[in-house]
Amino acid sequence: MGRSLGVFLLALILFGAAFNVQADDEVDQWLDRMVRAIETLNYRGTLVHMRDGHVDTLRIVHRADEDGIRERIVSVDGPPREVLRDGNQVRILLGGDQSMVVEGGIGSRLLPNLPPNRLSRPILAYRMSFGGTERVAGLYARVLEIRPRDQFRYGHRFWLEENTGMLLRSALLDHEGNYLQHLSFVSIDLGVPIGASELEPELSVSDAVEIKMSPVSAETPEAAAELQRPSWTPRMLPDGFRLASVSHGFNSEGQEFEHLLFSDGLASFSVYIKAARPEDGPDSERIDAIGPVHVFSGTVEGHRVTVVGEVPSATVAFVAQQLHRRESESDDR
């Protein structure tokens, strides 16, 4: 009797585990479909971005063909600005009195993007599950819930078009499930031909200031271990975050800084360290917020530390508190 109960329980546990693995695989497949759809489909549409009661409207045109990926995003509200993308090269046009063009390789995208070779399965730090089916911009979408397992990162909710996996709406949520911001298509044409003229900028910025951003040549942790180990490291990190790259750069005043990038597969933050100078002012600690992006500034061991990421304020503060300088080469990672 006891034995059969044991077998039954074991079967139940195994079934449960298998079911979970299956569910995780399904979530993974949908995330892959989403990323593929966002990159490889043609579409044009209007998006609204909502945060703190502010609404911004954006128009997007996206084309993927044998010539590569081209994209144009136009802000309809506020000061005129356009983002033009050709592969990884991004050109940002700012109109108005302060017209300006900024160009460079910017890895981030308006719609979420995940690299094919993911650093770690984000599943470790999040619970992922499917919600129901909802209608967004006239299309039926499956709702994918990504809830963080702790308070050190935000959650996501994605509305993915049933047939293609295209992202129709995304929401950023805090640990309690409160909405922080929404990005949602209000209208979208999927799989339509996009003419070359649609990808041409509307803004004329003939006499604009032109700025070229030099690429960030970051080492992967493996390469960094051989070439240049990071001279700073946090004693503890929130679960799931791992060092993704190490690089060096110079700020606008010509001072060198070290740049460490950490990621849990979905969320990421950067740590910048530079030597403190008297001109930097008092050693005050502060946190700035740019919507859900938090920036911690403070001083650690005579160095100015800045931690930046789309993570809760507690995360940037925690990481900064944990930073310390590596003593010697024998110091273990």
Partner: protein
Amino acid sequence: MTETNREHLSSLMDGELERGARAFVLRRLSNDDELSGRWRRYHMVRACLQRELRSGADLTARVAAALGEEPVMPQPSAAARWLKPVGGAAIAASVAVFALVGINSSLLERGQPEVLAEQPGFVSQPTPFDWSFAQPLVPVSFSETTAADRQRISGYVLRHNQAAGSVGFVSYVPIVVGTRTPPVVDDGDAGVGTLTAER
């Protein structure tokens, strides 16, 4: 624009509106261009009175303001290693960084972790992981952020965006939206940040 609206706006500036009216005016602000334009002008006037021009109408004014606030002139040659300006626009380039990211920053200051000391013995000892959450964050005014700070933060945000695209979700929403001057109220109690916290 009615007289009532103007009165509401100026009461909001002075932090004299009660909560319901405040929510109403803030809602109107986000929908009414004329009203939000006036709101910005009020703040501009106040900022000018306080000798702090926060949102220059044109780039030259921004450059002048930024240079005035910075004791050290950025060295064009060094700046060029991060941002390569085309055609000698080096000074404008350093300013450009924060025009681009458009920090609608709300500055948070950390309160004292009083609660920790008063915890009864049976509560498990807080670990460093709890520590971050034990200190409340209090929104304070953005006006305390200097041009140099904004420039540093924008540069770092931009670089984070440049580098992080390959490791997870990083949106350039901060770049595409959010150059609007936020309705930040200088008086601590009536601040929009406080309002958000109450919700």
